[in-house]
């Protein structure tokens, strides 16, 4: 017997399988180990690792094989050149290098529960992910502890917030025997030259293409070394080892549960391989799961995938035609709350919580799956991503992933028929117009800014000019007659005087009408001709120092060349006062009006001011400016630019409403009762 590593206390005889312990210079037989169960582990005793930077070289000195009765896995005892040692652990396709450290104060084994958080002082906080018992079923090479083969170990696996992992080893007693802390390692980083790729190891066990002992149907196993249960895709019968301590190879599986027909028909073919979102997958099996809510049973399918490069197990969940690709994440990196959960700085809102039950299984599985198996399943969403928790009595598992459109699934696995169209809105289905909306909003902002630039450019560059600007003063307050300020030509008053000599009608009504006409004519003001240089709009500004009075002006723009007349009215009125101790005001001294399409040419302006007798403002001013870019046009353009993206964004509200209508919770996280009402 040889002990390669100084810390080793036991060596397994390769010939007789005896476990030989050393006590000082003496050797002691402590039992015989069983035959090793073939696994798909890439490691072998005797391998040397020359890892990349950050890790020390080590030698694989021994192998411990453990079984929970639901699965068997290897832990590799490694010795470092400085005499220290650790464990290279593997489970569910992942690898961790664990080092023994000083045990912290921890609760008794019976007090541990998956999902709880343990504060381990200087080691940090850890989430308990698994609390189990495992049997020391076999070993080879050397081991750093003395225990008879067949011993039962109690342990708790922990997950740290920084991605670290830890194991509390309680041995077979209530108190802690050992504490191991480590980090996940990538196979490629270990620098082990003799490593065999998973696909090649699978090929090496291709002899495990079996026939179902119940129906004789062919079973093409993709992951035979890790397979603990097989549900025959032809007859649905569940195959496995009846011995809970020795799962044995699939070739020795017997019928555990006989079925006459497959329990369900998965939409994806089991055994199919394909590349999806940067991973190469093989579909190992499918679980049909169910839960009850509001008196109704809901069903969905979860496909077990083997990721070929990392050898990890991923999941593809399908519900109502919606697919979500999920992969395991460390529980210690998840912060779980009643309404939200967060993982790596991303927050997810709770969407559903149910007692999920396995209703049917098909394909191959790495654990002892069975129908009726129940877990508490909670889904949190942040479309297009989902964070999912499955909690059982002995373990808790978190997965995180993203929505995958059915077309992408069909293409990845080269399906001959397209997958059925999804029904409704998926839990983490992204709003399909998100990218379009982003582009539209971006375009709208860009074009709105461009419109503003155009507006100011037009104001700066285009030849807009004041073509008429005149102030009119009140000349006759009794009759409300105004005259142009500084005018030396005939005024309205003059014209009024000339009209005064006309014969008066005998009929009183006609006489009154004639008098009104005469007064109106007296008030009328006719401007000197002015010229507009180009065909454009005309901004008309009216201003008067009105203060609790008004002046209304009738405008008539008359083209000297064509006789075309444009008529409109404007009013300057401003009222203000104090009512009930509060100041109020209304109206405006300034008014502006745009007259469309005024051709170039000579124009005359006729004004008909009208005001309240005795309350006429002392003056008013009229200014005409040709070719003024209209700011309201800019406003309309900006409104039009934003109205369409806004409408599109409103459709997102409808989409989200449909999504959350399917949820056990409101979008704010309030739980709905069985009738769908918010739980106050």
């Amino acid at each position: 017997m040889r002990f390669w590593t100084g810390a080793s206390l036991v060596s397994i005889c390769p010939q007789c399988k005896s476990a030989i312990g050393r006590k000082g210079a003496d050797l002691e037989a402590i039992g015989t180990v069983a035959e090793l169960v073939p696994t798909s582990s890439p490691f072998k005793v005797g391998m040397d690792a020359r890892p990349q930077k950050g890790m020390r070289p080590f030698h694989i000195a021994g192998r411990l094989q453990l079984s929970t009765g639901e699965g068997t896995w290897d832990e590799w005892y490694v010795g470092f050149t400085d005499g220290t040692w650790g464990w290279l652990a593997e489970a569910q396709g992942g690898f961790w290098l664990m080092m023994p450290v000083k045990p912290p104060a921890v609760p008794a084994f019976e007090a541990l529960s998956p999902g709880e958080t343990l504060d381990l002082g200087g080691y940090g906080s850890f989430a308990i992910t698994e609390v189990r018992e495992a049997t020391y079923s076999s070993a080879e090479g050397e081991l750093p502890f003395v225990a008879p083969p067949g011993s039962v170990f109690r342990y708790a696996d922990l997950s740290g917030a920084d991605g670290s992992l830890a194991t509390l080893d309680y041995g077979d007693g209530p108190t802690l025997d050992g504490f191991y802390v480590g980090k996940p390692v990538a196979l490629a980083s270990l620098g082990i030259a003799e490593l065999v790729a998973w696909s090649d190891r699978t090929v090496s066990v291709k002899a495990l293409a079996l026939n179902c002992p119940n129906c004789g149907g062919a079973l093409q196993l993709k992951d035979p070394a890790n397979t603990v249960r097989i549900a025959c895709p032809s007859c649905g019968s569940l195959l496995g080892s009846a011995d809970t301590k020795d799962q044995g190879p699939p070739s020795k599986f017997t019928v555990l549960e006989k079925l006459a027909a497959v329990p369900f028909k998965p939409r994806l073919p089991l055994g199919a391989a394909g590349a999806l979102r940067g991973h190469t997958y093989a579909i190992l099996g499918a679980l049909q799961k169910t839960c009850s809510s509001g008196g109704e049973d809901y069903f969905w399918t979860e496909y077990l995938l083997k990721e070929e490069k990392s050898e990890a197990y991923h999941w593809l969940a399908e519900s109502n035609g919606h697919y979500t690709l999920l992969e395991p994440v460390p529980a210690g990196e998840v912060k779980d709350g009643p309404r939200v959960a967060s993982f790596r700085s991303k927050t997810y809102r709770v969407f559903s919580r149910s007692q999920a039950r396995v209703a049917g299984v098909l394909g191959e599985f790495y654990w002892a799956v069975k129908t009726g198996e129940a877990t508490e399943a909670t889904d949190y969403v942040s479309p297009p991503r989902m964070l999912s928790k499955e909690k059982a009595k002995k373990e808790i598992a978190w997965t995180e992933g993203a929505y995958v459109p059915p077309g992408e699934i069909a293409a990845a696995f080269a399906l001959k028929e397209p997958l059925p169209s999804p029904e409704g809105v998926g839990a983490c289905q992204p709003w399909p117009h998100a990218e379009t909306a982003r582009l539209w909003w971006k375009t709208a902002w860009f074009l709105a800014l461009a419109s503003i630039v155009v507006y100011f450019l037009a104001r700066l560059i285009t030849p807009h000019a004041v073509v008429y600007d005149q102030t009119f003063d009140l000349a006759d307050s009794a009759r409300g007659i105004y005259v142009a300020r500084g005018s030396t030509t005939s005024t309205s008053a003059d014209w009024s005087q000339s009209d005064a000599g006309a014969p008066k009608p005998a009929n009183p009504i006609a006489a009154r009408e004639a008098a009104d006409n005469a007064l109106a004519a007296a008030r009328a003001i006719v401007s000197e001709p002015f010229e507009t240089k180009r065909g454009a709009n005309l901004a008309v500004d009216l201003w008067a120092p009105t203060n609790n009075n008004w002046v209304a002006v009738g405008f008539n723009l008359i083209s000297e060349a064509t006789g075309e007349v444009r008529s409109f009215d404007m009013i300057s009125d401003r009222y203000a006062g104090i009512d009930g101790g509060e100041h109020w005001s209304e109206g405006s001294q300034n008014r502006r009006l745009y007259v469309p399409r005024i051709p170039a040419g000579k124009w005359v302006l006729r004004l008909d001011p009208e005001t309240e007798a005795g309350k006429a403002p002392p003056s008013f001013r009229v200014r005409l400016t040709s070719g003024v870019p209209h700011v309201s046009h800019l406003v309309w353009v900006i409104l039009l630019l934003f109205v369409i993206p806004t409408l599109l964004s409103f459709s997102k509200l409808t989409f989200e409403g449909r999504r959350w209508a399917e949820s056990d919770f409101t979008s704010a996280g309030a739980e709905r009762d069985e009738d769908g009402e918010d739980d106050k």
Binding site: H433, E435, T436, L439, W440, T443, A444, L447, A450, S451, V454, Y455, L457, A458, I461, T462, H464, W495, N517, A518, A520, A521, A524, V526, R534, G535, A536, N537, N556, I558, E560, T562, G563, E564, V565, R566, S567, F568, L593, Y594, V595, P596, R597, V604, R606, D608, S626, G627, V628, P629, H630, H633, L634, V637, L640, L641, I644, P645
Partner: protein, 58 residues
């Protein structure tokens, strides 16, 4: 590119072009102005002032 994405770019671009033309040409939408034509005989200072034309022509 997705036609839906292209639609808004075309719509917005057309709108901006139309607005640019309107802004630089001084185009104006029809407002609350009435159009009329002065008879040739009235196209003089007296005619502009003649109230009977305006009141009778309304």
């Amino acid at each position: 590119m997705n036609p839906m994405k292209r639609f808004f770019q075309v719509f917005g671009g057309t709108l901006l072009l139309a607005y640019s033309l309107a802004a630089f040409s001084g185009w104006e939408m029809s407002g609350n102005t009435k159009r009329n034509t002065l008879p040739p005989g009235a196209r003089n200072a007296g005619g502009y002032r003649t109230w009977h034309f305006w009141s009778g022509g309304k």
